[in-house]
């Protein structure tokens, strides 16, 4: 690695830091996009088996080339811009939708020290970006100039705004116990404690003392990404496909990418905040990126499992869950955590 940096510096001189950053970004984004592609395959397979079907199995061995074929198809299809649509915004919307989903990866620590930008306010950065993702959806719904799309956008915006509050409060509990906004510090903080000393680190992670917040965060994450059972924004049986009903071709693919990239992001964040990130669950196994991948994959499987299992929530039930259950619960747990921290029973010293 050091040799490579040396060669690069000799080759490009002053421009090297920029090129090095770009290389690092590519090194994150390229596998991510691949992961997104295979997540769609995984989803169809998992749901297929849950419904006692086989799922895609025609393109390539076990259907493994299916996502590639889908991608090529979407790329080659014509992107139609409706005549009465607001053109600039119509094109801007998918971009605004995918951009925050990718930018947030800048502060994600994949292993100890392996992070693109190790900033102090990483948690706030993630929160800020997740709150910006909403623009793509709203603009898509409005600029299409279609009733279904607009309805979907309205539903989606209200839903995302509501669940963001609960997510934010849940994360405040995490930052209270870890005393830091830096994601690496949050993970490292979970590696300490009574159980970790005994070699069962899994019991030291935040999910146990902050169990309600773990649930709230993950469920809100499902709602935030507009996944089933909270997918009223798409609601194909009521409003056809919601906000992206008028999109086709590559613009549609971008929304699709954004949704799956957000799913992976939420899973990784849940793993980092509550499940100890790259830490190994037991003392005798080494820490590493492998564990983060395993945890995130398990959470992603839950996303698919939910979709195969639950019927769609009714809209007012979604709002009620967000405002009347999650937000009060998080506020109460905030107080509990605060009292816990100043009481002699504090376990986070």
């Amino acid at each position: 690695m050091d040799a490579m940096i040396q060669v690069g510096q000799n080759l490009f001189g002053a421009a090297w830091p920029l090129i090095w950053s770009v290389l690092k970004i590519v090194a994150i984004v390229a596998p991510l996009l691949l992961a997104v592609a295979y997540l769609t395959y995984f989803e169809r397979k998992v749901i297929g088996y849950m419904q006692i079907r086989i799922g895609p199995n025609r393109v390539g061995p076990w259907g493994l080339l299916q996502p590639i074929a889908d991608g090529v198809k979407l790329l080659l299809k014509e992107s139609i811009v409706p005549t009465v649509a607001s053109k600039g915004l119509f094109i801007l919307a998918p971009v605004l939708s995918i951009a925050p989903a990718l930018v947030a990866w800048a502060v994600i620590p994949f292993a100890d020290g392996l992070v693109l930008a190790d900033i102090d306010a990483g948690l706030l950065f993630v929160l800020a970006l997740s709150s910006v993702g909403i623009y793509g959806v709203i603009l898509a719904g409005w600029s299409s100039n279609s009733k279904y799309a607009f309805l979907g956008a309205m539903r989606c915006a209200a839903q995302m705004v509501s669940y963001e509050i609960a997510m934010g409060f849940a994360l405040v509990c995490v930052l209270m116990v870890s005393q830091s906004l830096n994601l690496s510090d949050i993970v490292n903080g979970q590696g300490k404690g009574l159980f970790a000393d005994f070699g069962v680190g899994i019991l030291s992670w935040n999910w146990l003392p902050l169990f309600p917040m773990f649930l709230v965060y993950f469920i809100s994450g499902v709602a935030e990404t507009n996944r089933a059972p909270f997918d009223v924004a798409e609601g194909e049986s009521e409003i056809v496909a919601g906000f992206h009903v008028d999109y086709s071709g590559f613009a549609f693919a971008l929304f699709f990418l954004a949704e799956y990239a957000n799913m992976i992001l939420i899973s990784i964040l849940t793993a980092i905040m509550f499940l100890g990130g790259w830490l190994s669950p037991v003392g005798f196994l080494p820490d590493g990126f492998f564990w983060l991948a395993v945890k995130a994959s398990a959470l992603l499987f839950c996303f698919l499992w939910f979709r195969a299992t639950f019927p769609r929530y009714r809209y007012d039930q979604i709002m009620r869950l967000g405002w009347k259950v999650f937000i009060p619960l998080t506020i109460i747990w905030l107080v509990v955590t605060g009292v816990w921290l100043i009481s002699p029973l504090n376990i986070w010293n």
Partner: protein
Amino acid sequence: MEFKLILFYVLSAILVGSSLGVITSRNPVNAAMFLVLSFFTAGAVWMLAQAEFLAIVLILVYVGAVMVLFLFVVMMLDINFDRLRQGFWSYLPLGALIGILMILEMSIVLGGQYFQVLDTPLPPELANSSNTKDLGLLLYTQYTYPDQVAAAILLVAIIAAIILTYRGRKDTKRQVIADQVAVKAADRLRVVKMDAVKPQPAVTAAPESEAGDGAAK
């Protein structure tokens, strides 16, 4: 020129451009999006000044919450913005005059003749501290009292907004969520045990029912 300085000028140019976009664009949604862009750039400028907490909070609060609601309103209302904009050119001279005056005032103030604070370098012990933590400490120790009063002001604003706009309609249909949640499967679905084959009715039935049976067959 230092890289940071170039960045500052680029960001400022975007900020000024997008602010102009806010007031000149014909479409209110475009104007709102320009405002979002200017918030973003302002956040970036603050980030350059190492005020990362304020920068991120600006994006989190203004872009993530306030502007979303604003966009909501702009999209829902059918306002004829062309009519609102009618007096634009007649007000322009006055507005421009005020703008020029403000620029002059700011340049006098920032010129350093009256306020010397601008040249104060950052104390070394603050250069590496997290300003999120520092702000939090100040807000919850030194300035607890005004912080609480400000909270009361926000509460009053909420109360005022609700009493002035909420009209409890008598004719709304609403769900009783508590009942819905309390529902059990047995309330909706009754599982009845019955034999697969019905026992034949006794032969001594009334003639009408026989006729009925015949029709059914």
